[in-house]
Structure formats: structure tokens, C-alpha cells
Symmetry: C2
Subunit: 210 residues, 2 copies
């Protein structure tokens, strides 16, 4: 009886006042970085947008580079939690993949600035040898692994066409992730609608000839 | 006998020495911008990497912002020319789409730095009201229109499943464009292999249930 799958998750404590304010600052910074770029955004810009003095800003975020990590955590934690929840339902590979598409598209819609900053700035800014950078890489691998396991399960049980798993993961990820470039919450399509149409294309194909 | 389709294309003159040197500078700048970001790259960095003094640099590129336009032209012109060539063959919608996937994936592989800079920096840097910015937007629309026409032709002749054309274009573009984030020429897959597997998934689907 030690399997963690059988135990209810411990209740998540509500965020402290410090964390709530920090999230606000992280989201404001993500908006500035997404629009103007990380390097073009000065500490003065951050102070003005958050109505904080430099001392107050550092109290919450430590440093400008630290902001990049906080921006990443902002969307990767809910993404991973939701992806693991979808996987743990034990549904068919098709249904699991569709659930993952909804989760990923939902995060891109809700955290568009944060995802943009991460994809644009991560490579050129962080110290790639740090323990923290390794945690970022690990989180990305964890998410990709959920998709890879689902695809391999479908190839094994005959519900998916056997193909190179890594390229199949990258096709799925690319189709949805690239929405960070064009998706707008006030646009023509809801995130759920995009996820459904993209999943139809991914699973059923756009062509009628087999 | 005035249809331009029937006439041979005029011969393309070889690039002048000025243009050849300018392309070299544009490509060096694209490498720096892709790795370090547009704003984090100084004019001194550009001078050092190109072995030019400021006067020489300005002679070739005019200004730092001008570089962004030149970087864009570097890949969009061969991309559009190749896409129109594929379309003009009049092949089936499946074969045309596959040809477009090869063209796009080939450009992303060959001009990875230039595509990266364009996708990351364009929104935050250029004067969006300028005539030149309008030409960039028009070039993107031209390429998307080739894909859209191909998809609509396939939906009309019954070879593609009817679906929302704009989302179908975005799924196709996203799947391939996102390769700018992960494709490496020395990696496990050639650009042609990626284009073929992605086209198989896009046209035939990853699932076996219909």
C-alpha cells in the first residue's frame, strides 16, 4: 500500500502574501519581456511597471536572471501537474493524447507571455551549468516523456501507426507549441477548439487517401 | 501568349561583390542575434565579428534595425520562390503539400539563425507602420496563401478532410516551423526525413482508428 498513485495528494496550501505579490511581479515582467525583449527591458522599466523601488523589486525576485526561472516555473508547474493527472487516468492512448493537447494548449493560452519569454530568452541568458538550469531541462524532459510514453503505448497496442517516437513527439509538440506565435485569447478560436482540431489532424490526418 | 507561366524566367544575374559581402555580414549578424539576442548584441560585437569598422559596417547594412529586414529577406525570398515553383507544377494536393513541407523544412535547416532572429525579434523591434514592415507581412501572407490554396484544393477535390482552412494551415506551419527550436544539421535526422515523417503524420494521421 505504498504506491503514491493510491494516496490522495496532500492539500496544497494557499499561496502566502509574499508569493501572491511575487507572482504578480513575475507576470508583469513576463509581459514586458515578451513585448520588448529581456535585454531591452531595464530594471527601471520593471520598477515603473510594478510600482516598486529597486530594493522592493530585489526583495521579491532576487535578480533579473532569477526572473527568467520564476517565469518558467509559472507555467511548467501547472503544465506538469495537469499532464501527470491526465496520464494517471489510464485512458486509451487516443484519449490521453487529446487530454494532453488540451492541457498544453490551455497553458499556452493562459501563460502566453511566460511561454514566449521562455522560448525566446532561455538559451541566450541562463547559466547552463547551474543546478537550476538543470531543473528547467528536467521539467521539459518530464513533459516530453509523458507524450512519448503515450505515443509508444499507442504504437504498442496497435492504435497508433508505428513511427519514429521522437519525431512523432516533436510533430505533436510543434503543432501546438507554435501557437505561442499566433494564438490570441480574443481571436477567432478558443484554446479548446484549437486543441480539438489539431488533435483531429494529428490522429486522423488531413488526407482521405490511406 | 502573354501568360507569364509560359515564358522562361529571366536569368538571375550573379550577386555583385557588394551583395556577396553584405550577405556574409547579414549571416554573421544573424548568428550573433540568434545566440545572444538582438538587443544584447552591440555594434562593437558586430564590428568585431565582421572585422569591419563602424563606417564599413554602415556602408553595407545602413543600421542595426535594417539588419533585421535583411535577415528576413535572406530566407523569405528563396522560400517564396521555391514555394511558387512547387505550386506551379500543378501536382495533386498531397504531392504539392509534401513539396511545400520539404521546401519549408529545407529553409529552416539552412537558415536556422535567420528564422530564429525573425521569429524572436521581429515583433519587438521593427516600426510596424513602415512600408518595409508591410512588405514583410505581405511575404508571410504570400507563403501562407500557397499552403491555404493547396489545402482548399484538397478539400474541394475530396482528397483532404474538410476542416477549418486557417487552423489547418496553422497546424501544418506550426509542426514544421517549430523545428527552428530543435533542428540541428548535425542531429539525428536530415531535413528531408523530418519533412517526410511530418507529412505522413499530417496527411495520414498518427492514429489507426478512423
Amino acid at each position: 500500500m505504498t504506491s503514491s498513485h493510491l494516496e490522495p495528494a496532500p492539500p496544497v496550501p494557499p499561496p502566502s502574501r509574499f508569493d501572491t505579490r511575487r507572482y504578480e511581479i513575475v507576470d508583469i515582467a513576463a509581459g514586458l519581456f515578451a513585448r520588448h525583449g529581456y535585454h531591452a527591458t531595464s530594471l527601471d522599466d520593471l520598477c515603473e511597471a510594478t510600482a516598486l523601488k529597486r530594493g522592493g523589486l530585489y526583495h521579491y525576485i532576487g535578480s533579473k536572471e532569477e526572473l527568467l526561472y520564476l517565469i518558467h516555473e509559472r507555467f511548467i508547474e501547472p503544465l506538469l501537474a495537469a499532464a501527470h493527472e491526465v496520464e494517471s487516468r489510464g485512458a486509451s492512448p487516443d484519449a490521453t493524447l487529446r487530454g494532453l493537447a488540451h492541457v498544453l494548449m490551455g497553458v499556452i493560452a493562459e501563460y502566453n507571455d511566460q511561454v514566449t519569454v521562455f522560448l525566446h530568452e532561455w538559451r541566450s541568458v541562463v547559466d547552463k551549468d547551474s543546478e537550476r538550469a538543470e531543473r528547467v531541462r528536467q521539467a521539459r524532459r518530464d513533459f516530453e516523456s509523458v507524450i512519448e510514453r503515450t505515443l509508444e503505448r499507442g504504437m504498442a497496442d496497435g492504435s497508433f501507426t508505428p513511427r519514429k517516437p521522437m519525431l512523432s513527439v516533436l510533430a505533436f509538440l510543434g503543432m501546438i507549441n507554435y501557437a505561442y506565435q499566433w494564438y490570441r485569447p480574443d481571436g477567432d478560436y478558443s484554446a479548446a477548439e484549437v486543441a480539438d482540431v489539431f488533435c483531429d489532424i494529428y490522429l486522423l490526418g488531413a488526407g482521405t487517401r490511406r
